[in-house]
Subunit: 211 residues, 2 copies
DNA sequence: ATAAAAAAGTGATACAAGTCACAATATAAT
DNA sequence: ATTATATTGTGACTTGTATCACTTTTTTAT
């Protein structure tokens, strides 16, 4: 499946320039008219959406991935924002071309459907977790996600602020801060500025599943 | 698009029996092996998933809709459960047939992609709302959804228990009960058993957007 | 019809996490 | 370098909502 994606990317990317985005710059702007799908080649982004009160971070996604699909098939106004949280690279693919490739290549459709399905499932799980766990457990999950999936290492640099973490797990900045102190105090993680080292992943996993 | 769906349904449904489900019977069982996609022709269902502590109701969906797509393209184990909350009718479509139709009919793929995209967006919005509003606002949203989208009427019969509502909006049964009393007391809704009449939709909308 | 099981109603209490209010560092900008 | 701005660290206090512990009502089963 990976090779398919790459082959397809080649086809789609041939006549599309790669655009570089610095950390903190916005790749997709909610509310803006758009006629592109974005293929994120490299980097890490946050997807955020205007909530009833604040801007809400919905999820972090790392490359490679497609972004902005809902815009492609619904109206042409972006329904959410995507901001780079690490330097990233993306290519913009014209919607019509994208649709044409979908039409011509059934495997590609199947691939996109699969990705969307996966994302739906993840969404359900996130939903269930956030709701049932308390902040400590959700925070542990963020660190596990960063370590296991995003950076694939026990040492990494936090790509977002404590207040963003709070926003992501539906907690206040202050609560996150206090819980981080707690984690550090319990020798579960070590932090120097935003440099994180996970000292006791077992504990994190325990916290994730219990609290 | 609607006609396309109907045409497609015809094609898919031709050799597939319609199965009737009584209220409260399970249509899709999480954890079970399955080789079908379900097309819900008629009725109303809840999608629920095993959370870290409880079973979590993720959303209500009314017919017509496809269910179980993630199973189709990922592994063959159902990743969530779907239970009828009103008498419903569904047809079961063999995965291979479904895939074949997807392959042969690009419009159908496009339609499925569109549906999945829409569902992703809804998911993001639900997420942002649940997180930022308190229970009163989320409860108002449930009533607005039931009235505006699901039953398209100001009078309807609650299809789920208070404890399910609580589960759906991440609150306890008791909180829902207290808030309902409050709504009734404020002449926002009227309830006789599970028969609901919305008396003041404006208020509900206000509560939805403020609290 | 009657027993059994769910669902709904309600008070008392507890607590996780929000909010407010500053102080202390960092980071970015001129 | 030196402001200006953003982020982080903490204490004190408040609050929405969970939990517990019943009672009452409704529904389902026998």
């Amino acid at each position: 499946m990976r090779t398919l994606k790459d082959r397809q990317l080649e086809q789609l990317g041939k006549n599309h320039a790669v655009v570089k985005f610095k950390k903190d710059s916005t790749i997709i702007h909610q509310g803006m008219f758009s006629t592109n799908v974005v293929f994120l080649r490299e980097g890490l982004v946050k997807v955020h959406i205007t909530g009833p009160y604040n801007e809400q971070i919905v999820r972090l996604i790392k490359a490679p991935t497609y972004l902005g699909l809902p815009t492609t098939f619904g109206n042409k106004i972006n329904q959410y924002s995507v901001t780079a949280i690490l330097d990233s690279e993306a290519c913009f693919i014209d919607i019509n071309l994208f649709r044409k490739v979908l039409e011509e290549n059934n495997n590609f459709s199947a691939y996109i459907i699969q990705e969307l399905s996966k994302s739906e499932l993840e969404s359900y799980h996130r939903c269930a977790n956030r709701a049932q766990k308390q902040t400590r457990g959700n925070l542990a999950d963020v660190f596990l996600d960063l370590s296991d999936n995003i950076f694939e290492s026990d040492s990494f640099t936090l790509p977002i602020s404590q207040s963003d973490i709070g926003n992501l797990v539906d907690a206040s900045r202050e609560s996150i801060n206090r819980l981080l102190s707690e984690f550090i105090n319990d020798n579960i993680i070590e932090m120097k500025g935003r440099k994180v080292k996970i000292l006791n992943k077992k504990s994190l996993q325990l916290i994730s599943s219990n609290g």
